[in-house]
Symmetry: C5
Subunit: 384 residues, 5 copies
């Protein structure tokens, strides 16, 4: 009960600007935005600086000192901070707006001296149609990222900067941007994997015991797949454009890596579509399971009724009170010597005849044959 109520209350945020028709260029953050925490990484091949809670002044200072500066903002609750960072990095006003209007589709926009990239990541804590928007700005010596909520999708990248291993520390900000995008795209895999496992469990369950819960769960899986799909399709487009179109901010080598990232997105889409088709197929299996069950139930009812209703009628006939004394025509069989055994014999013969007729129609024994077929059906997946 309470679970349902809370679910109703926690309405998904409507994906729209506060008021249609308001002036663009205004930085109105979403109503439930978190207070921002700014973290900063500055690094070169040999050294690195990490600040867990930086202010714009510290950012300005780092920009002058480190070959690559990565500023990450968790939470969009302070439009002034966004505006100040925008001014500091010289970002376009329209891009800044899109940062706080958190229902953008994934896209890439090329401005004169920076690239603005929007990613959407599955939000594993949420259900249904939600996903998180990540905004990423790539400039000559910086990467600036905005996240709606503090998340751990970028944690491995942080580790790699700290560890100093790999080519990350030696490469420029474009490679850092690639690493972050790659981490973002790959964060779809665990979610997909979990959905794939749920589909597999569901398959066994549906065949064995088709319950109403299965359809609701299937619907939830399909909605999650729809959600992932809504995020990943434009990411694919965006990655295709990034890896294809020349831009002075993205090196050729990095474009090769982005191509790899594009391949991952295509692979995710392939898997998604396959899961969608499997889910649709499972619904068919479920529906036919249900009608088979109904069929079986009806068969039992019909066999029992069809056998006993005529017999009960016969018993009713001989239970009538027509007075044999009043007339020789009134139920003389009640006084025959073998009246009762004869009646029982007639009833038994009727029942036997009906049973034989049912067996001929395949209604008896048919229910038992199905499980055996099913056993062999399980091995049908591959060729013999």
């Amino acid at each position: 009960m309470s679970a349902r109520t809370s679910r109703t209350r926690r309405r998904r945020q409507p994906p729209r600007r506060a008021v249609p028709g308001t002036s663009p260029g205004q930085l109105t953050p979403p109503p439930d935005a978190l207070h921002p925490i700014v973290s900063l990484f500055g690094y070169g091949p040999d050294e690195h600086l990490e600040l867990a809670d930086a202010d714009p002044e510290a950012v300005r200072e780092a920009l002058g000192r480190w070959p690559v500066v990565w500023v990450n903002v968790d939470g969009l609750g302070d439009p002034d901070l966004v505006a100040r960072l925008g001014a500091l990095f010289g970002l376009h006003r329209l891009a800044l707006e899109d940062v706080v209007h958190v229902h953008q589709r994934p896209k890439v926009e090329h401005y004169t001296d920076h690239i603005y990239i929007v990613l959407r990541l599955p939000d594993p804590g949420a259900e249904g149609l939600e996903s998180e928007q990540i905004s990423l700005f790539l400039g000559h010596n910086f990467v600036l990222t905005f996240q709606e909520r503090p998340g751990d999708a970028f944690a491995p990248v942080r580790e790699r900067i700290r560890g100093g291993k790999g080519r990350l520390r030696a490469a420029g900000p474009d490679y850092l941007a690639y690493a972050l995008i790659d981490a973002g795209v790959d964060s779809n895999f665990p979610v997909l994997e979990s959905l794939g496992e749920q589909l597999e469990d569901m398959e066994l369950e549906i065949v064995d015991r088709p319950g109403r819960g299965a359809v609701v769960a299937l619907h939830a899986i399909r909605r999650s797949l729809l959600n992932l799909r809504r995020g990943i399709w434009p990411m694919r487009e965006m990655l295709g454009a990034l890896s294809r179109d020349a831009d002075p901010l993205v090196g050729d080598e990095t474009r090769l890596y982005l191509r790899d990232c594009y391949d991952h997105a295509v692979q995710i889409i392939d898997l998604l579509e396959t899961y969608r088709e499997i889910a649709a197929g499972l619904l068919d299996v479920y529906l036919s399971s249900v009608s088979n069950r109904m069929n079986e139930i009806m068969k039992v009812l019909t066999i029992i009724s069809t056998i006993f209703i005529p017999l009960t009628f016969a018993a009713g006939i001989w239970g009538m009170n027509f007075a044999p004394d009043s007339s020789p025509w009134n139920m003389p069989e009640l006084r025959w010597r073998f009246g009762y055994p004869l009646a029982l014999t007639i009833m038994a013969s009727t029942a036997t005849a009906l049973l034989i007729w049912f067996r001929r129609r395949g209604w008896l024994g048919g229910g038992g044959a199905a499980p055996r077929e099913r056993g062999s059906a399980n091995g049908n997946g591959g060729p013999k």
Copy 2:
């Protein structure tokens, strides 16, 4: 009753020209067109003029005095007025026709010194397949809009002109046109949001109590989605063309803003298609809910019938009137010392055996298992 009748009566206007084959270039307004009200805005960076009810003469005068003039006509009932305004602004005859034939698809047409844009806005007061056509002409120093009905989609833009804040007052008519188009596109969001909420409510309802009303309501939602879709798809095309193709009347900066507007349209389409798939999925959930219910009902009927029909037959047997006096073969059990207890024992054993058989088939207790499964199914949306 009366609701239905009124719905039947208020037939949707058929989307066609008055008579097929009539000469093009004739301005025959739709039969139920409202009497037009002309409002006028003239503004420059510092000052602005607002006339709530202007006549063509006032328009001509304003055109010479203000950098940007916006004339808005609510209602298409007066073809002469349309013709006079057309002559005043030098508009093409074919475009004027399309203004009064209010079933145009959204489109953009480039004439020598003006651009003609058709928008379709969801009509929140109407149901089903209706939407409102907005015609917008953009010239060197004017924007001319025609609406079928007085609406409030443009109210925030009016406010911005009056307020003088933002870049609207300083920019040219192309930016005004953008602001109006943007307001029009964004007016889809509240409608979509409402449909999304209805879908969510329906989801809970369908799982809990699948009633016939749900399917009808689902159908209504799907029809509304179809309607929105019919309007927004060509708007996307149109916005793509506007933001892509160079035209001297639309500045580069405004094209960037139109690109943002295009993104909104794509986002609306994404959401629409997602809702369409969710609605289709809900129908599946509904249908399976209904067959599950039927299954449960049949199970109860079958269990009760299958247990009691044989017992009733047995009672019928011993209720027969074969005369024990006439022959020792006639129902001697009726006079046995423990005849009645034996009969009751046989009946009880039969019932018990049948109950055990039902439990083995999973027909008993199966109904109770479903709700428990469902509880866990609700948490299946995200990965574990």
Copy 3:
């Protein structure tokens, strides 16, 4: 009965050439072709000539005298006439063949000094998959049209020629061709409108009283939509090509008008696809209506049976004839003082318990709740 028989007999004409593999270039008219009637219009800006029944000689004469000559042939039953007209206007052999093979798709073909255009018009008198083929040849000073049957699609154009109003009389044959094509395309609107009204009526009917007739009627509507679609899709292509590709026979101004005509075709397609989706949705509503009805019926049956079958069994028990005189164990309750009232009380309690159980399961009163829900569902179409 007779309606059905006649329908079976009036087989649709198979859409094929008489015998596959026969030599092309042979003018074999369809077997049921009507005898042709040739009508002729010759006109210039100031005068016009109209001949209701012209012969080729009159046509030749008119060609030399009038700026624009329009020859219309109703009926294709005379291949010689077609050949003679073909020779007179210098038409290509392959095009002439297509005139008499009346199952062409709409298309446009550019020959050296004439354009051959095939239109398909919905045939409002026919049902199901039929449509009429109109062939139109456009030359430097003539338009030649062939219709399968005398129809009224072109009547308004005739009126406009006679009336001399509009730009038709002043313009060249390309404008006449446009006017005819436009009349042809627009003749889809009344058919669509009628189908839309049928869909709306059906919607009310299906929700209120789902009968078998509804599905058959829905199928008929869908078939009509398929038929219209088969005609209009290639017309759209054809109009796109005509309005896009330069051809000396079609003026720039007329191409602008043809673009308008193209927009109409796109609009028809939009409406068609929307209707197709609505029809598909109605089928879903219908099917769920039917299963809801079945559910209700089953519920009534189950409630009645489940209550009375055990009671009848109890009555059967006490109707058995075990002789109380033979043994104190044999049905002593029959002689108890309050035996009968007790029996009735037991029966009443059982029935009451079952009714309470049904109410708990939501089987009682559930049927009454649906109409109330439905009432509110009707208002779900638009946003609140």
Copy 4:
């Protein structure tokens, strides 16, 4: 029985090369290939030669003597013959392989001095997924065709060569190739026509008496449509390429004719897709017909049961044997003066009340209304 067995035995040939991974370039004919019969036509405008059974030597001789030589091979059972003909005409090895691997898709391949065309023709004698592969080589002065089985698709072309009428005898081998392809494409029409008639018959049958046979027959039709479609789609592509791309072996005039042939293919596809949609719609009609029937059956069962089960219970009550003699509480009504008439009256009233309730719910008389509605539904196809 025997029909089914033979169907099982006559397995469709799997569409694969003998062993995956074997060297290409080996001419291994299909296992059930027929022994080849070579026929030869040589012709010029004035004369022609026809050999019903030619050997390669005769072919070589004819090649030197006649302007156009057409060699037709019926049956692919002799790989040596294929190789010898290949050498004689200078054909590419890969093309020869495709001749004997009879599961090629229709395609066109341009070699230096010949064109290789693969056609697929519906095999009217077979059922389900089979079609026949026709290979056609077009060279400077020859056409060489290979058929799997002797068929009559080319018979009309043979007649035209013999008759000497039409432009066939005067034109080059490209026109002959066109004539053969055209005959091949058009051989789809009779098959389609037959399927269309079957669909129409089925429509009447499904509405009147929906039987299980209908679905099986519908499935067979859909499979045949799938099969035709698999053949005709690539033929369309192929014809498009042939009529579009310049090749010295195909004259401009012939390309015009091939364009006509392309139109036929598009027309066949249109019809196919329409039939597929109609077949899908018929399945919906069928399923709803079946559930309507079920509904009707259930209604009858429910009405009868609901009326008689309570009455039977009442009869059971008064059939109980509580002894009125033992106590004044025991069934005193049995001895009332009007006990029996009262009982009958109660029963009759109950039945009447139930009947009234059923009529109110629309269960009585509803079945009779449907046929009347259906009658009007049949006329719904066209607009009113």
Copy 5:
């Protein structure tokens, strides 16, 4: 039971990199990778060398001696070996990664002096969604292949190298690569063939005895088809690119052969899609078979119940114990001379009337008509 358990345990490997966000360029093999076995072929037109178990040193030596060297690695369990071979052949780091991340889509990547090709082969031993990844590197004088598991797809190619027949030994490494790709693509045919046979068997089974196993088996087939499809679609793209785009490593002649291979892929896709549609159609047939069965069952139940329930009621009436002695109104018919025969006659008449009514409704004899129709339906596949 145990089969199911093992199936649950043997979870499909999730298709993702070990940890999202880890540095690219790390060669982490899949957890269940087999220990690699390196086999080597070196050959020229006249001689060849075969090593069943080679080490990198042997490979380096062979590279200098033979015109074409083919190194095949079965099993990816040793990342060092992969790295060493990569260094030996000068392969790109990103490509090597993709070798061990075995969930790549089929693709082709052109590096400066080698081509990297990924194939996916159906894994006939596995079921459901699995397939094997084959990586193939083509260089100036070598082909290097990596397989996940030792398989026999390449066995015929090995035979051809050993046998020295065909053009394989004389041609370069590009032809070898072609031969391997061709063997890989064609390995789809036996799997498809087996699925096609299963579909055909299922068709007979579903029509004759629709059991629950059929749907589960159909679902398994559909999943296998989805799996094949996921592998073959990108192979088609890849082959298209390979056969179209010029690359110095692939000769023109080989490109012609690859075009043939591309045709095979298209043919596999055609067949796949056809099978998918047939499987979907079979589900429809199945569902309608099930509802037909249900219909038949219900009909029997209804006929029996409807006939006997009123009769039983009548018998119950005359079994009531109203005392005829107490009043002349109490069941006087029990003492009529022909009371009993009259009662029996009334009952028989009722039953007869009901049977006639059933026959009129088509409920009797309708079940017997279906098989006869079905017989003729079987012959519906082709035209009459």
